[in-house]
């Protein structure tokens, strides 16, 4: 419990920026926000692009051997397409197709988009902290990010996380 205001606290490090990995931090942050928890997400390394004004997260089957490949509709909907991981990840355009399929499936099933979840997090006053060091390394500017993003470093996150009830590295 935060000593400052008696609210529970959730501190998350978001270190991955693919579409599949973008979901957990935003789902947990908005669920915690809905329970009146105080939340901060520290976006670092490949998680940092999730703060960009225009989100472009995609998902790759490469190195994702457990990712089910399913059509979002039609006769193949219930079938796991038996395409070997190594083959599908080497076909040009497969990543774009996998991304489009995942977005379509999520929408059809009623999962909010990353954009919607991020907007809700902003509305709930979730602190969205961009990692300064990652910005310097990969060449991002503050203007690349949504206005609500703040910039900080490891100490900024740790200062918040010191009083957290739940701390997650994603």
């Amino acid at each position: 419990m935060s000593e400052k205001n008696g609210r529970r606290r959730l501190a998350i490090i978001a270190s991955k920026g693919t579409l599949d990995w973008a979901y957990p931090p935003f789902i947990l942050a908005t669920a915690a926000g809905a329970m009146n928890w105080e939340v901060a997400i520290f976006f670092t390394f490949y998680g940092l692009p999730l703060l960009k004004k225009k989100l472009d997260a995609s998902v790759s089957p490469l190195g994702n051997p457990a990712m089910p490949m399913k059509m979002p509709f039609g006769p193949l909907e219930k079938i796991d397409l038996p395409i070997p991981n190594l083959i599908m990840s080497n076909v040009p355009g497969f990543q774009q197709m996998a991304t489009a399929l995942m977005k379509k499936t999520f929408k059809k099933k009623g999962v909010a988009s990353i954009e919607e979840l991020r907007d809700m997090a902003v509305e709930m006053d979730v602190r969205l902290i961009g990692c300064q060091m990652t910005m310097d390394v990969f060449g991002f500017k503050k203007e690349d990010f949504i206005d609500e993003a703040e910039i900080g470093g490891a100490a900024t996150f740790l200062e918040f996380a010191a009083d957290a009830n739940v701390t997650l590295f994603i």
Binding site: R8, I27, L28, T30, A31, G33, A34, M35, N36, W37, K109, G110, V111, A112, M120
Partner: protein
């Protein structure tokens, strides 16, 4: 059981986690203390999630049950 007067109904049909709790939390802010919000969902996970949400926020979950493939919740605003 006498009918509980419902101040507002929120339909979360078709929405998955975390939307039912997020929308419920938003909707309950517009109610007065003591008023009851009815929330309808189709996500089976909304039963344990609404119970957890009520415990965390302190609002009172008067009812949580399945009715013909839908889940109906009655939540009383307590603060």
């Amino acid at each position: 059981m006498a009918d509980i007067p419902i101040a507002e109904t929120l339909d979360c049909s078709g929405l998955l986690c975390p939307m039912p709790v997020v929308k419920t939390n938003k909707a309950i802010k517009n109610l007065k203390v003591g008023e009851v919000l009815e929330m309808i969902a189709t996500d089976p996970g909304s039963i344990p999630d609404m119970e957890a949400w009520a415990k965390q926020t302190g609002h009172e979950l008067l009812e949580a049950k399945e009715e013909g493939g839908k889940y109906r919740f009655l939540i009383k605003k307590t603060h």
